[in-house]
Symmetry: C2
Amino acid sequence: MSVTTPQGFRATGVTAGLKASGRPDVALVVNDGPRFDAAAVFTSNRVEAAPVTWSRHVVADGRVDAVFLNSGGANACTGHQGFQDTHRTAELVAEALGSGAGDIAICSTGLIGELLPMDKIADGVDLAVATLTDEGGPAAATAIMTTDTVPKVAQVPRDGWSVGGMAKGAGMLAPALATMLVVVTTDADVAGLDLDGVLRAATATTFDRIDSDGCMSTNDTVLLMASGAAGVTPSPDELTAAVTEVCASLARQLIADAEGAHHDIALEVRTAATEADALEVARAVARNNLFKCAVFGNDPNWGRVLAAVGTTRAAFDPHLLDVTMNGIEVCRAGGVGADRSLVDLTGREVHVVIDLHAGDASATVWTNDLTHDYVHENSAYST
Amino acid sequence: MSVTTPQGFRATGVTAGLKASGRPDVALVVNDGPRFDAAAVFTSNRVEAAPVTWSRHVVADGRVDAVFLNSGGANACTGHQGFQDTHRTAELVAEALGSGAGDIAICSTGLIGELLPMDKIADGVDLAVATLTDEGGPAAATAIMTTDTVPKVAQVPRDGWSVGGMAKGAGMLAPALATMLVVVTTDADVAGLDLDGVLRAATATTFDRIDSDGCMSTNDTVLLMASGAAGVTPSPDELTAAVTEVCASLARQLIADAEGAHHDIALEVRTAATEADALEVARAVARNNLFKCAVFGNDPNWGRVLAAVGTTRAAFDPHLLDVTMNGIEVCRAGGVGADRSLVDLTGREVHVVIDLHAGDASATVWTNDLTHDYVHENSAYST
């Protein structure tokens, strides 16, 4: 049920003709209140798309009435016209909903560097508003797909309240907070709660720890909207736990559907001096093309893991490093460990444990392998 | 003629049986003096191979009598036994040449995480010493190849003296100074010159500005040896220019033979506030897998260039960025420029110019596209 699992939300997904394929390409999620609390995290890419610039301003006052999302065009690197188009879209949605444009968030995804066809966007707004229902969550999740092969939805029911969510993203996934388009809803009454803090805590250990291809998008947005319709106010910890659970589920689904991937790889760094060290090491390995190609070839090439670890500033002694791949400790004390031929990498999931022996902190980053299919999809995407 | 173009050097390349293919796998370059000056730069990877650790010590006193190089095994991540093997190799070479082990540099390349077969290395030392000639440069260049498809050699004749060089490297090329195995020789008399400064100046603008796949090796070494046999002492500027010319030629050859590459891409960043900014931007683009896939697909996807630029800390205003691909300014002022269909990317060389409009500094980094063949080579390398 996605974003319409919580009470107080309606959603829809429609076809506005932005995609050449004729598939659904416009989604709308509306908060019917009684409260309209919102928080968001955005890409840290300094080249940010017009809808990101716009939505930063919208969410600044903590209120969002609705979010309009389109696939089939990112509206990034589109100059002043692009920003005017986003502004105009918000005005159209606001007029149709009887709201104010300043409370309408906008998200766009698709090819960078092309203006959106505003006549089709306008048609999409009308069609979307006309088809809003409290069961529209799955349709919305489908309409935001680009190279995704499946829609990503999650819902976490609690006692008298719930959290729901949807996500899109199959490439350009890299940690900078908010690495895709994500809408999370809850009917909890969050009056007096630090919703921004809740969202940042949830994304820091979920979306911020997946790194499919090291490429940071211009459009990434994670938006959390709270309707208060359940009339229940959970504790901050309860709310954070539920939002984190939804984000974790969506993040895992994104990795599982990453462009061209054949393996989902969990890089667990242990015994690090600090969590920051553990993260730096995990990300360095996650971005090492040679390691990612080796996993594609089902090759437990642990030397490439060590070569990646060696590029970091983390505290470690090269002669103490251990690497375990799917349960086999192939590298022990920086040298040859168990027979690499014992490692079975034929399954979809690969678990790599890197022990730094420098402390007791740890972190896990999820990534994918680098495959022929990834190269194919990304060499042919815009042409 | 490679490293034996300058007077005072003998070299050889022989087959010691380290490679399953039966191709040459051991090279030796000997300086016959009268001088034995040397300088070197090494990988900055903290996980460094045993021969790197060894050769750092050897070159510390500025004297190197010979360098022994093997392909077919990197002797990296091989623990104390690996270091003892490198030490023993230097002793064997020194005994055969009547030199001291402390003046014998060692370089190794090949798979990480396996010990070298020392019986074959010992045979290789004997065979190499027995076949040294002053025309052995090309044979040496061939013997250090791994996935290289062609040997890389260069020579720059000057008035009465010369510089020669050889290089290997086809993957794991990334800037951290010294991104491959390179031996550069000169017969200039460098008494009183800052040979280390000459080498660092030359590599800073050549090997340090190629980045094939962002992966930094554990074994990278660039060694410069000077025999003084020509009896001519050039000025520091003259020597730096000649060494730079050899390094530039070898660096360009490495990019042209990079694993699986279909395009050589020059990323020229202009109007940067500082050269460091220009380099940071060029490297960010050089490491962006999505951009590199697009070039493979002959797709002038400039949005991916901007998305990569946006991840840097360089000084720029996103609304002022221009991007020109093979002469067509596809992005102007951060937005859509000339028709992207005008860009012809079918040739081997691609020239991307990025204008930051933040100053008057510039830098160029060379990289390659990301192809099916790269994935194939690197998913099947060790198995």
